[in-house]
Every structure is written in structure tokens, then in C-alpha cells.
């Protein structure tokens, strides 16, 4: 779960990392008032949970109330990478002499967290990582020891951070590690960490992702996740407990198991179609879950056909088929063709049971996907 910038900054500030003065507002007039309060120059920043807001026009610098009003007018309500901007953070701009990058993330290969420090902050750090990997110092941290003070210092000095602020920067790095550890963060970064002319450091941006699997023990962070923004379909799928990702195509996809659903998406593409979504219905296939899954997929207006791909496993194909039949009868009208393919234990029995008045049955994954792609292209 990605926190909003303003949420992450609150967490950082509580942990003792300096952040600029700011106000979160939802209207143009409030934005102007907030800018007056924090002083000029001020930044008006879209609060959506995506990266690259600056490039996409989601951040503007303003020098007076009129400019603040204009900026808020433009940003509030805009769509950034498919998400509508409902709030902006109005923040005092920092007068800086240097921009650093500091972060902590999980090094999957090493199975341990890694702290990163670079003097190349304020730019797309992933581009720096790709082009000049040596410009980012990485210090792996043994999770059972926790980050030791010397590790933070080592990263900071090896990155070439000015000695005048090195101690403060090392302290920010250790604080980020502490948040990583205490708050079950999977990724946490400050870019840029600004250095002022009088050798102070200020977190001008804040990124924090929290482990979804750990929200059960992070009740405060889980609460801030509930006030979710963004895609309604994703919110609905989340409510039903499905893993769901919306895409740009027109072939709706329902299946069980992440790998098999991804494979189904890939096959839609392979056969010339375009997947509309990823939806993992999980284990079993009771009528209610099937109905909920189809409700989510049908609610996407782009969908022209649905492929329903279940590998039976422990749950037998005949049970799955009965669940699908029961689910489909709950719809007054089935808005797009549904192609079903069952495999695994008792798959043949299952396919015989399926109600072919409601669905098209295919025997193989390949043929099911091809048929759905054909339907989506208007061929029947």
C-alpha cells in the first residue's frame, strides 16, 4: 500500500525528519489561503499515489495567491495515470543548495533491506540507477542486527555527502530504516532530501509503501489505506478480496492462481487480443465468488468478452462447473460472451455440466483464449 505524500510526510515528521511547512486542501480557495499561510514561493502538489507527478504536470511552483489559485484550479480534478486528483498539498518551497537521495527498500535477492544514498537527488533516481549505478551507494543491512549507526555513516560518507551535513543525513537514513522496521514498510525514500545554505536537511518529498501483508499489525497505517482513492473497480475487487489489476484492453479475464491468470493475459495478447484486466478468484469457485468476479469484470465498459479459466486442483471440476452455472443464473442478462475452460481433476465431468446456453465451453486454454479474442473482435 502506497501512502500519499502528505501521509508519508506526517509519518516522517513524527519520526523526527524535518519536512517543509504544508497544508492539505481540497478546493481552489483553500489552496490560495494555504499558500498565503506557508509563504512564497510555494509548491502546489497533486496528492495521488503515483510516481512522476512533476513530469505529468501535477506539481506547480507559485509566487502569489493568484498563481496558487490557478495552479489548484488546474491540478484539482485532473487525471494522473488514471487517478483523479482530489486533494493538493500546498507546501513552502525550500531554498536549497544540494539535493540528495536517501531510501530503504527490500533487496529480494539478498533477502534483506538495503539503504541507498546518492548526491544525485531531485531527479528520476531510477534513471540514475540505470545509467550511473555507482552514483548510488547501497548498504545492505542484516535485518536481525538492524541498521547500525556505522552503516548509515558509511553509506553517507561513501556517497560523498558533504561532511557538514553527513551526521544529519546519516541520522535521516537510520530513521528511515527505523520506519522500515517498525512500520513494515517495503519501500521508503526521500527524493530530494534538500540541503539548505545553513547546512540543514529537509525532506522535500516522501515516498512510503507499506507491506499489505503486514497491515494486520499496523492498524494506524491500515486506516489511512481505507480512505483509498483511484479506480472504483479496483476498490470493488478489493472489497470482494480479489487480486485485480485493470488494464487497457477488451478481453476480461477471470482465473485462479496468479501465474495461471498472468499466463491467460499473455495468451490473449499472443493471440492478437488485448487483456482488460487481471482477476485472480483464488481457491475454490463457489457460486458467490464467481458471481462477484463476473460483476467486477462486467462493470468494466471496455470489456467485450470474458474468458474464465479455472484449473481444478483439489477443488474438482464438477463442483466448479456447478458454481459457475449457479453464478450465471444470478445475472438477468449476461452482457458479453463468456468462454469457460476447466482443467484438472474431473474437468471433463465439469465441462459436461456447464450450461452452454449461458457460456461457451472450450477444452483447452489456447482455444478458450482464441475464442474470447474472436468474440471481442466481433466475430461469433
Amino acid at each position: 500500500m502506497k501512502l500519499h505524500e502528505h501521509q508519508a510526510k506526517e509519518v516522517f515528521a513524527d519520526a523526527g525528519i524535518p519536512v517543509p511547512e504544508s497544508r492539505l486542501v481540497a478546493t481552489v480557495e483553500e489552496a490560495a489561503e494555504a499558500a498565503e499561510a506557508v509563504g512564497y514561493p510555494a509548491a502546489v502538489k497533486a496528492q495521488v499515489r503515483v510516481g512522476g507527478r512533476g513530469k505529468a504536470g501535477g506539481i506547480e511552483l507559485v509566487d502569489d495567491a493568484d498563481e496558487a489559485r490557478a495552479a489548484a484550479e488546474e491540478i484539482l480534478g485532473m487525471e494522473l495515470k488514471g487517478l483523479r486528483v482530489d486533494e493538493v498539498l500546498v507546501e513552502a518551497a525550500v531554498d536549497f543548495v544540494d539535493e540528495l537521495y536517501v531510501g530503504v527498500t527490500m533487496d529480494r535477492g539478498a533477502g534483506e533491506p538495503v539503504a541507498m544514498v546518492s548526491t544525485r537527488g531531485g531527479v528520476d533516481i531510477e534513471a540514475v540507477a540505470a545509467e550511473e549505478p555507482d552514483a548510488i551507494v547501497r548498504e545492505g543491512v542484516d535485518p536481525v542486527f538492524g541498521m547500525q549507526p556505522y552503516e548509515a555513516r558509511k553509506a553517507v560518507y561513501e556517497a560523498g555527502v558533504d561532511r557538514a551535513v553527513a551526521g544529519d543525513v546519516a541520522s535521516v537514513v537510520r530513521t528511515l530504516y527505523g520506519l522500515w522496521d517498525d512500520d513494515d514498510a517495503t519501500e521508503i525514500e526521500v527524493n530530494p532530501l534538500m540541503v539548505t545554505a545553513d547546512d540543514e536537511v529537509v525532506a522535500a518529498d516522501a515516498v512510503m509503501n507499506v507491506d499489505d501483508d503486514a497491515l494486520f499489525r499496523q492498524p494506524e497505517l491500515a486506516e489511512s489505506a481505507e480512505a483509498t482513492d483511484g479506480d472504483n473497480l479496483e476498490a470493488k475487487a478489493d472489497e470482494y478480496g480479489f487480486d485485480y489489476v485493470r488494464l487497457d484492453g477488451d478481453v476480461g479475464i477471470v482465473g485462479n492462481g496468479a501465474g495461471l491468470v498472468m499466463t491467460t493475459l499473455d495468451l490473449v495478447d499472443y493471440y492478437g487480443g488485448a487483456p482488460a484486466n487481471f482477476l485472480d478468484i483464488g481457491g475454490g469457485a463457489k457460486a458467490e465468488r464467481v458471481a462477484n468476479a463476473l460483476e467486477v469484470v462486467f462493470a468494466d465498459d471496455s470489456v467485450e468478452a470474458v474468458v474464465f479459466n479455472i484449473f481444478g486442483g483439489i477443488t474438482r471440476g464438477d463442483e466448479v462447473a456447478r458454481g459457475i452455472n449457479e453464478a450465471l443464473t444470478q445475472f438477468d442478462e449476461i452482457p458479453t460472451p463468456v468462454v469457460v475452460r476447466l482443467a484438472g481433476t474431473n474437468a471433463e465431468e465439469g465441462m459436461e455440466i456447464l450450461n452452454t446456453d449461458l457460456v461457451t465451453v472450450e477444452a483447452t486454454l489456447e482455444s478458450a483464449v482464441q475464442r474470447a479474442v474472436d468474440y471481442a473482435e466481433g466475430e461469433t
Binding site: 510516481g51 529480494r108 540507477a129 496468479a258 501465474g259 495461471l260 486442483g313 483439489i314 483447452t364
Partner: protein, 289 residues
């Protein structure tokens, strides 16, 4: 021959008194797995379908000479259960549990790296050596004894491929689901090493997916050290960056690492053919044998 598990494995089930644990213990036993004990704190002295339950894994291992554990403990308590199993000690620990926090797994991974125990999973379907033993939730019916080793990050995708293999007469030595989490015990390289050392495994299928760089490392290992031929499949070619595709570990990073393209290129570079469809993977295995 086989890897990791066989008919002689003596299995303790952690979480045997829970719904899933109980159900799958029955399934495992029916398949022929030698489940010798359960371990659930406070439930020592009870029995589940005739299997004795102990309060601790160490107690179960000592009393029943167990060497293997399968873990069905809920996510909040799973790390403790895994640490307990690793400390017992056992030869193999298979973690079925899905949704274990990453930090807990970082601790478990650290502990596992200090032991000689094979940890498989978490968030995996398990390990099966057809006609000998199965550990976990895999559907035993679709597997058949044979010459093909299989290692996969995914459950149902594994079943899809196995189903094709079996229906074309290509049985399996052992199939290992290594799990879809970012931090897992046994990874592709570990499993490939075991298959390479197994004289009965004449070909290997490796089902990878987006996220991380395990497949790239596996490709290096295949290219440099393996004689046994490997056919690959990579799921998630159409996944957008930054979105978690079901598995916690199945995510292409914003900076573009962990893509299917990179993994496919690495495998083909290592002369491990990658199928565009699951059926094509099985075609490649047929070519090998």
C-alpha cells in the same frame, strides 16, 4: 530417484488442528505421504485422524523421528512456526502459508541461511514426488512418475503444465513449487542444482514469472553449470510496471527490472528454450527426451 522428498520422508504437520491443516493432512496421507505427527502448541497429547499431536516441533521430531515439516500456520504466527522448524532441526520445511509479512520472512531467511535445512516457500503449493509422497496442497491426481523435474513460482500454472506433461506421457521425478513471494527459501538455482544432481531427472521445466531476478540468476546457472536440459516459461509478459499481479513477488519495478523480456532473453541466451504457451513448453521437453 527424486529430490527433497520421497516415501521415506517422515513428516510433521504444523497447524494440523486448523481447517486447512486437517484437510490437507488427510489428502497427503491418502496420497501415501508418511505423516508421522502434528505440532500445535497446547494441543500435545491429542490426535488428528490418528496422527499424534505434540506441543513443539522439537518434541514431535524427537518422538516420531520426523525429518520434514509442512506448515499451515496462519500468517501472523507463521514466522515463529518456521523458525521453530528450522531450529528443530529438520531436513526440509515446506511453508504453504500465504501472506507472511516481508520482514518476518527476512528474519526467517536469515535463520535458514545459517542452517542446512531446505526451506521451500512460503506461499507455495508444496513439493511432490509422484507415487511416493506429496507435501502441501498440490492435486496428486494430475502427477505421474517419470523423468521430468519441475520447478515453479506458481501453483495453478504448475498444474497446467503438469497436466500437459502427464497427458503426453511425460511423468515427473519431483515437482517443486517455490512460491510467489519476494523472499523465499529454495530458489530456482537451488532447485536446479538438486535436479542436476539427480540422475533420474532427464529434463527440467522451470516456470518463472515477472519480478525479481531469480530467473536471470537461474539462466546463468543453467548456462554455466547444467548438463540437464531446461525448458522455460515466463508468465506476466503483459503485466504493467508497478502493479502486483496476485503474487506479492510478481511485480515489474518502476525502473523496469523484473520484466518477462529480460528473463526470457536470459534463458534463451543460456540455451534454455522458452515456450510462448504452456503447450510449447511441453513440446520442448518432448524435443529433449
Amino acid at each position: 530417484m527424486s529430490i527433497l522428498v520421497d516415501a521415506d520422508s517422515r513428516v510433521v504437520v504444523q497447524g494440523i488442528t486448523g481447517g486447512e491443516g486437517k484437510f490437507h493432512t488427510r489428502q497427503m496421507t491418502e496420497y501415501g505421504t508418511n505423516v508421522v505427527a502434528g505440532a500445535v502448541p497446547g494441543r500435545g497429547g491429542q490426535e488428528v485422524d490418528g496422527t499424534p499431536v505434540y506441543d513443539t516441533v522439537a518434541g514431535a521430531a524427537r518422538a516420531e523421528d520426523a525429518d520434514t515439516s509442512v506448515v499451515f500456520v496462519p500468517p501472523a504466527f507463521a514466522a515463529d512456526a518456521l523458525l521453530e522448524a528450522l531450529d528443530a532441526p529438520l531436513d526440509l520445511v515446506v511453508a504453504i502459508t500465504e501472506g507472511i509479512p516481508q520482514q518476518d520472512m527476512a528474519t526467517v531467511y536469515r535463520k535458514a541461511s545459517e542452517t542446512d535445512t531446505h526451506l521451500v516457500g512460503p506461499n507455495c503449493p508444496g513439493v511432490i514426488t509422484p507415487d511416493e509422497a506429496k507435501l502441501g496442497i498440490l492435486p496428486g491426481d494430475i502427477f505421474a512418475d517419470g523423468d521430468v523435474g519441475l520447478v515453479s513460482r506458481s501453483g495453478t500454472l504448475t498444474y497446467q503444465v503438469v497436466d500437459s506433461l502427464t497427458s503426453r506421457g511425460l511423468g515427473q521425478t519431483t515437482a517443486v513449487g517455490i512460491g510467489g513471494d519476494p523472499i523465499i527459501g529454495t530458489d530456482f538455482v537451488d532447485a536446479l542444482e538438486l535436479f542436476e544432481a539427480d540422475p533420474d531427472t532427464r529434463a527440467v521445466v522451470m516456470c518463472g514469472e515477472i519480478g525479481g531476478e531469480d530467473e536471470e540468476e537461474a539462466a546463468r546457472y543453467i548456462g554455466e553449470r547444467m548438463d540437464t536440459p531446461v525448458a522455460g516459461f515466463i508468465a506476466g509478459r503483459t503485466a504493467p510496471p508497478g502493479k502486483r499481479m496476485g503474487h506479492a513477488g510478481a511485480i515489474v519495478s518502476g525502473s523496469g527490472t523484473g520484466t518477462a523480456e529480460s528473463k526470457i532473453a536470459a534463458l534463451e541466451e543460456a540455451s534454455a528454450p522458452v515456450g510462448d504457451t504452456p503447450e510449447e513448453v511441453v513440446d520442448r521437453v518432448e524435443d529433449f527426451l
